[in-house]
């Protein structure tokens, strides 16, 4: 994986496959504390203790199409490489929360990458799932919630050409506002 936005896409796809109704993604950058953290939280089926212990083992997967599951081990490795760590909170019926913390200025910290592409791929690929994205950069916050968008669209589906453009535009403007220096 080249950047963190691809890891986010990968972990969020797991959430959808765990039957999540809502997937909440949070990215927080704190330059003073030199921390960048990612959090992907879902209300899917969750995992029992035995499964949770095995998920960082690359030779474990719940899938039956192949025998190796590299998603979380790769993210754990990316965090470790930037003096960070990965933690997973989960219980059956309680959903799952994956948190990865990085030292922001570390030379091996992967760039955040294209968050817009990741969110558009998730939203359009899973019209039945709600996505909430929150990014904070040194106290400035951007929030995007497909539930709010659906209310505004009065339940019109999100996969028409004009809705795709609208979602993309909203995200681009919101993320740009985080980087603006005033």
């Amino acid at each position: 994986m080249e950047d963190l936005s691809l890891h986010i896409l990968d972990v969020a796809e797991n959430s959808v496959r765990a039957g999540a109704g809502t997937v909440a993604i949070r990215v927080e950058e704190d330059s003073r504390g030199d921390v960048l953290s990612l959090e992907i939280e879902d209300d899917g089926e969750g995992m029992d203790e035995t499964t949770k212990k095995k998920i960082l083992d690359p030779f474990f997967t719940t899938r039956t199409t192949r025998r190796i599951g590299l998603g979380l081990p790769l993210l754990a490795e990316a965090a470790r490489a930037a003096e960070g760590r990965l933690s997973v909170d989960s219980a059956p019926g309680k959903g799952t929360r994956v948190t990865a913390v990085f030292r922001r200025s570390h030379i091996d910290r992967k760039p955040l990458g294209d968050i817009v592409q990741t969110l558009v791929a998730l939203i359009l690929g899973h019209p039945g799932t709600h996505f909430v994205y929150r990014q904070a950069v040194d106290g400035r916050t951007f929030l995007f919630d497909t539930r709010t968008l659906r209310v505004e669209l009065e339940d019109a589906p999100l996969d028409s050409p004009s809705a795709i453009s609208l979602i993309r535009k909203r995200l681009q403007e919101g993320l740009a506002s985080l980087r603006r220096t005033t």
Partner: protein, 132 residues
């Protein structure tokens, strides 16, 4: 989030109404599934998805459904998609890049003709017929 403008809402709703109408008439042209497992993502599935969505947007196509799926067990052939035209057998395309995606969209999804050279499983077990 900023509020939607009335024009934006009207546009989305109008397109949605037409799409629903098509679906009720059983006329969704095709379903395109992008394989979005760890293997697919690492190999470029997100770029394939973006290319597909840009084609839908720029050509204003309203009767194609897009969805994501997981790993299909052929990790070495990612990025992969599956194209299923209404009433026809699904076709898997492998080793994709944006250009191949555009060709498949134009020729198969819109044109109805399978792009054999990018498809999985066509010609993989070639028989050498005896020459006369």
């Amino acid at each position: 989030m900023p509020k939607l403008t009335l024009e934006e809402l009207a546009k989305v709703r109008e397109q949605a109404r037409k799409k629903t109408h098509l679906r009720e008439g059983g006329e969704v042209r095709a379903k395109v599934t992008v394989h979005m497992g760890t293997c697919g993502i690492a190999a470029g599935a997100r770029t394939i998805m973006s290319t597909l969505l840009s084609e839908i947007e720029s050509r204003d196509v309203r009767d194609v459904q897009v969805t994501n799926s997981g790993c299909a067990g052929l990790c070495s052939r990612e990025p992969m998609i599956t194209v299923e035209l209404a009433g026809e057998a699904p076709v898997k395309y492998v080793d994709l890049n944006p250009d191949k995606m555009k060709t498949i969209f134009a020729e198969h999804v819109l044109g109805g003709k399978i792009v054999a050279k990018y498809a999985l499983g066509i010609g993989s077990e070639k028989t050498d017929f005896p020459k006369e």
